[in-house]
């Protein structure tokens, strides 16, 4: 079931943003998919790139995988332990961590970049397909929540809020 609006090519941002609002108001939430964390490399923040079956008809696999891989790269950049993080840590310790009252940490800077990236992805790719990605930080960095919307105006071919079999189980 295609989304509400024609897939944007390089349409202007104003129209696309308008569509994001329209998505929430004129579509009804059908289902939510939760992309779980991938702990194979330890406790660093990384999400599974496995393509959930619920999205098979909604979005191309490569687009989805690109989004998750880019997010994983952002988080890896934020949590990288190297020269810059040592410098930040030592400087902060020397000032009894009071410097964080005025300075933004590297992680916070990357989180802002992530928020911007997610909004951009929603506007360009996901909203036109009736999907919406929630920033993982709003879910405790545990999951990437993807909401699947159905057009209210469509005829009863939508899947409604049918429960999904546990096909995404490991």
């Amino acid at each position: 079931m295609q989304g509400l609006v024609p897939t944007a090519t390089d349409g202007n941002m104003a129209t696309e943003f308008h569509n994001l609002q329209e998505l929430r108001h004129s579509a009804s939430l059908a289902n939510k998919v939760f992309i779980q964390r991938d702990y194979s490399e330890g406790t660093t923040c990384k999400f599974q790139t496995k393509f959930p079956s619920e999205l098979e008809s909604r979005i191309e696999r490569t687009l989805f995988e690109d989004t998750v891989k880019t997010l994983n790269n952002y988080y890896a950049e934020a949590e990288k332990i190297g020269g810059q993080s040592y410098l930040e840590g030592c400087l902060a310790c020397a000032t009894a961590y009071l410097i964080f009252l005025c300075m933004e940490t590297r992680y916070e800077k990357v989180l802002k970049k992530i928020a911007k990236y997610i909004q951009e992805q929603n506007e360009k790719i996901y909203a036109p397909r009736g999907l919406l990605i929630t920033d993982p930080i709003e879910r405790g960095m545990r999951v990437i929540e993807i909401s699947i919307y159905e057009d209210r105006g469509s005829s009863g071919s939508s899947s409604g809020s049918s429960s999904v079999s546990g096909s995404t189980a490991r």
């Binding site: 939760f34 330890g42 993080s85 040592y86 940490t105 992680y107 879910r139 999951v143 079999s165 995404t168």
Partner: protein
Amino acid sequence: MSAVMITRKVRKWEKLPGKNTFCCDGRVMMARQKGVFYLTLFLIVGTCSLFFAFECPYLAVHLSPTIPVFAALLFLFVMAMLLRTSFSDPGVLPRALPEEATFIEMEIEAANGNVPAGQRPPPRIRNVQINNQIVKLKYCYTCKIFRPPRASHCSICDNCVDRFDHHCPWVGNCVGKRNYRYFYLFTLSLSLLTIYIFTFDIVHVVMRSVDNGFLSTLKETPGTVLEVLVCFFTLWSVVGLTGFHTYLISLNQTTNEDIKGSWSGKNRVQNPYSHKNILKNCCEVLCGPTYPSVLDRRGVMQEDSPVSAASAAPSSSSSTNPVPQTTKTTAPLIPNEHTPDEAKPSIAASPKEEHSPDTKGPPLASPETDVETSIAKDKTH
């Protein structure tokens, strides 16, 4: 005419589940029982005040003025670390919202298959492989999530905390991923401060006794006796604790894992998080990135009712989720088993157990989730 209701902005910390107390409109987050924390504050501030009042004037004149200056700097650092440990979010994991909880339940149901009636369903465990080790992720019945590796549920604060170390009554908060380095620096700097004050107390008494005699020295500076007493008992415990945590850091282990013996080497189980290099382990724990809090304490709650004034205001962290954060999650599809989280051991969380006032022995409360090692329900609950 429609009446306009002006509702107060409700911030998210007011609706957070769990047993934390919040101050300064959500900026400060602590455990509920703060009595021992006030004791810690009193002991540190009291002992240092006595030092500045009695010893410092004499030592500044007879030895060097840098002595009180350095003591002051050290004292300020200790206080900064203590307050930072006590007031910050240790790395609490927010509870699952209803849809996420339902999603997980369905996955569990699918994974378990058909359980014959009358039989207990298998325990909710997920296995992950981390660096060639199988690590079991346990399901938290309170928070309705599978706990990430190294996370544990604190029964005193009723939260799952990431990289949970222990709940420290002396700082009045859990020690977890976000505040472990501050906790370590607090114990380290407190050790240094204690040694410093103790040493200069002795130096001061010796120097004064040479001039005036021992007994009259004690009469002139009665504070010294008190300080020496406090420092003596503090030394043994705090220095010991610092040493213990240095050992843990060099192995990249948490107190919780150490107590449970998770990586003790039985069955060829090794710590998958350790870099096998002491320096690397220390650098990761002490100089790693400063993790952000995922609890949006000061965000404004989205009100759904149209008359509410708050709904018009965009929240500081826009929530795209149409479901407002609730304190209770909906009942799961599968009825709750007796939750293993309920049976928590309490290694005497009462502060009266310690004789010495400023001792910091091994963690007094160690929340456990293992049914096998659970002792008694936390009596301070």
